[in-house]
């Protein structure tokens, strides 16, 4: 079996036809992890024993004629800010070094019921704060196409794992681009669902008005299958809603007549001209497929990153107050007062980027500044959301670059937070507009992958997957595999 060619549907039918067993499948993936992970640092925890045990159970279910679940045998890697019962979950932070999940996240539960197997937990920027995975307390994940470069982030471990077929699918979390940007930099597919589509119960919160869990895969079809298995209302996350979904066959077929908008504000000075050229070539391809490409204006786009940033630091400063050394995580140091012990624990155990963001968030929420920062950000956010609503009156979908550059060198942006934040400039608008987005591979610049981003109106994932799938099938970028170290 060639792991590079395995997809959700093939695995399912091969297992049912007994071409191989789930144990053989998992063993092959574990061998790949064993061979490749050492040089990339994509996994923080490999669940070898658990995965084999799940595989044996699955094999006996298949033998007894039970073909349960659309994801039968799909091997999934889970970003390490999503809880699995009894499995170490660090969120990339020293403060959770020894923490084990006390329950399964809703997404894990749903994927398991759909027949999936779990192979391990992937690396990330601490608590999801970063665009390069360099902020992990457990070392950076390296880009499979060039290990001297970053994998992107924060779901860099998941993207690198898929690019090297260490897993069939992976889960990421996307607050401002943390699924789409690493997918772009590693040459794989990464999808952010609409806010409210997928339950965050069991996800370690970064920014509660923005966080979403989504799939990272080799193909659009695989992403849609994983998405469909996770989506839907969950009583344990009150932001989730019951809205109509689609069946997998609905994303097939041609896109003749589809109206695709190209916001001119996404082609900015300072972006890599070769990336721009590659994306423009992809637009031509979409036109050849029958889509009607038209330029659209979204003048508030340049404010998105700032709005995003104020929102995320403010909400993170509130969410992360819970790391107090009492209920979980590292132990409080002995100190004369609780206040002092709390300050010492957090000063010692949280990474620099986390501390920076908590401090800026504390500022933005503090008396005298709240109106000018957090509140103003929410007002501008509402306007940007409105701008998205308006544009989807005239087009079915938007297309843009995912990232202004290809993967950058490890260390290149590490000491300059603002430059690092600019990596998310094209992914934050959809996040703050609650819209879904997907990044698909669309070419290479200097041997490094480039991603093409599609965005649609909230809850129109069907159109999102359909256009991405049509583009993917007309090209062969998704068949290129990163060299194995």
């Amino acid at each position: 079996m060639r792991l590079e060619n395995l997809h959700v549907d093939d695995i399912r039918s091969s297992l049912i036809a007994k071409q191989y067993s789930a144990v053989e499948l998992v063993t092959a993936y574990l061998k790949r992890v064993h061979d490749v992970n050492g040089s990339l640092n994509a996994f923080l925890t490999v669940m070898a024993d658990e995965a084999l045990e799940q595989a044996r159970a699955l094999d006996s279910r298949i033998s007894s004629g039970e073909n349960a679940g659309p994801l039968l045998g799909t091997v999934i890697a889970v970003k390490d800010n999503i809880l699995m019962k009894g499995v170490r979950t660090t969120a990339g932070s020293k403060i959770l070094d020894t923490y084990k999940g006390a329950y399964d996240a809703t997404v894990v539960d749903r994927l398991r019921s759909a027949g999936a197997l779990f192979i391990g937990k992937t690396n990330l920027d601490e608590f999801g704060m970063g665009a390069s995975t360099e902020n992990s307390a457990y070392g950076a994940t390296k880009n499979p196409w060039d290990p001297s470069r970053v994998a992107g982030g924060s779901s860099g471990g998941s993207a690198a794992a898929i690019a090297t077929a260490m897993s069939c699918a992976a889960l990421g979390t996307d607050t401002g681009g943390s699924i789409r940007q690493p997918a772009s930099l590693c040459g794989v597919v990464g999808m952010r669902p609409t806010y409210g589509r997928v339950s965050r119960n069991g996800m370690i919160a970064l920014s509660s008005s923005l966080d979403q869990i989504g799939p990272v895969t080799k193909t659009v079809g695989d992403a849609a299958a994983v998405f469909l298995a996770m989506a839907g209302r969950d009583s344990l996350d009150v932001t989730t809603v019951e809205k109509q979904l689609f069946i997998p066959q609905e994303i097939l077929g041609d896109i003749t007549g589809m109206r695709i908008g190209v916001p001119k504000e996404y082609f900015i000075e300072g972006m890599d001209p070769e990336v721009e050229k590659t994306v423009r070539k992809a637009l031509k391809q979409l036109e050849k497929l029958g889509a009607k490409i038209q330029e659209v204006h979204m003048p508030l786009t340049p404010y998105s990153l700032a709005v995003y940033y104020i929102t995320v630091v403010s909400e993170a400063s509130s969410n992360l107050a819970r790391y107090d050394g009492v209920r979980y995580g590292s132990k409080l140091p002995r100190s004369s007062t609780f206040r002092e012990a709390y300050r010492r624990l957090r000063g010692d155990e949280l990474g620099e980027e986390v501390k920076r963001r908590i401090i800026l968030g504390t500022f933005s929420l503090s008396q005298g500044y709240f109106d000018r920062y957090y509140l103003q950000a929410q007002k501008v956010r509402a306007r940007i959301k409105h701008e998205f609503t308006k544009v989807f009156d005239t087009v079915d979908c938007l297309v843009a670059p995912t990232s202004p550059t290809v993967a950058f060198a490890l260390g290149e942006k590490f000491s300059d937070p603002l430059t690092m934040y600019l990596s998310d400039i094209f992914t934050t608008p959809a996040s703050i507009a609650d819209a879904p987005g997907i990044s698909v591979p669309c070419g290479f610049v200097r041997g490094l992958p480039v991603g093409l981003q599609f965005m649609t109106a909230p809850f129109d994932e069907k159109t999102l997957f359909k256009v991405a799938h049509a583009y993917e099938q007309a090209t062969d970028w998704h068949t290129r595999m990163a060299p194995l170290a």
């Binding site: 084990k100 999940g101 508030l300 700032a306 400063s317 009492v326 007062t337 501390k355 501008v380 934040y421």
Partner: protein, 97 residues
């Protein structure tokens, strides 16, 4: 506006994070440039806008009170750094002063 080392010190107290002198200095310059960038949202006149915290368009999603098993109580207790006889040790939260 920019942050001085003293501003960062004050904020770090509010945030419950002890910083080293080096961190205070570094953060004051880094966060000043971030603030400079994000301040651009203030260029947009939103004086007539009401704040949309997305409350009005959602219906009440309060669930019925129902007893049901959730997670694993033993595992949740085990996760605490200091446990004795199923009790989590909590430090005194009231300062002696």
């Amino acid at each position: 506006m920019s942050f001085t080392s003293q501003d960062i010190d004050h904020l770090s107290r509010l945030a419950g994070i002890r910083l080293t002198a080096g961190e205070k200095e570094k953060f004051s310059s880094q966060l000043s440039s971030v603030l400079e960038y994000v301040k651009k949202i203030q260029d947009i006149d939103t004086s007539g806008d009401h704040v949309d915290f997305h409350l009005e368009k959602f219906h009440d999603v309060t669930e019925k009170d129902q007893v049901r098993p959730y997670g694993d109580a033993e595992k949740m207790i085990e996760a605490a750094p200091e446990v004795r006889d199923r009790l989590i040790r909590v430090p005194p939260v009231k300062d002696a002063s």
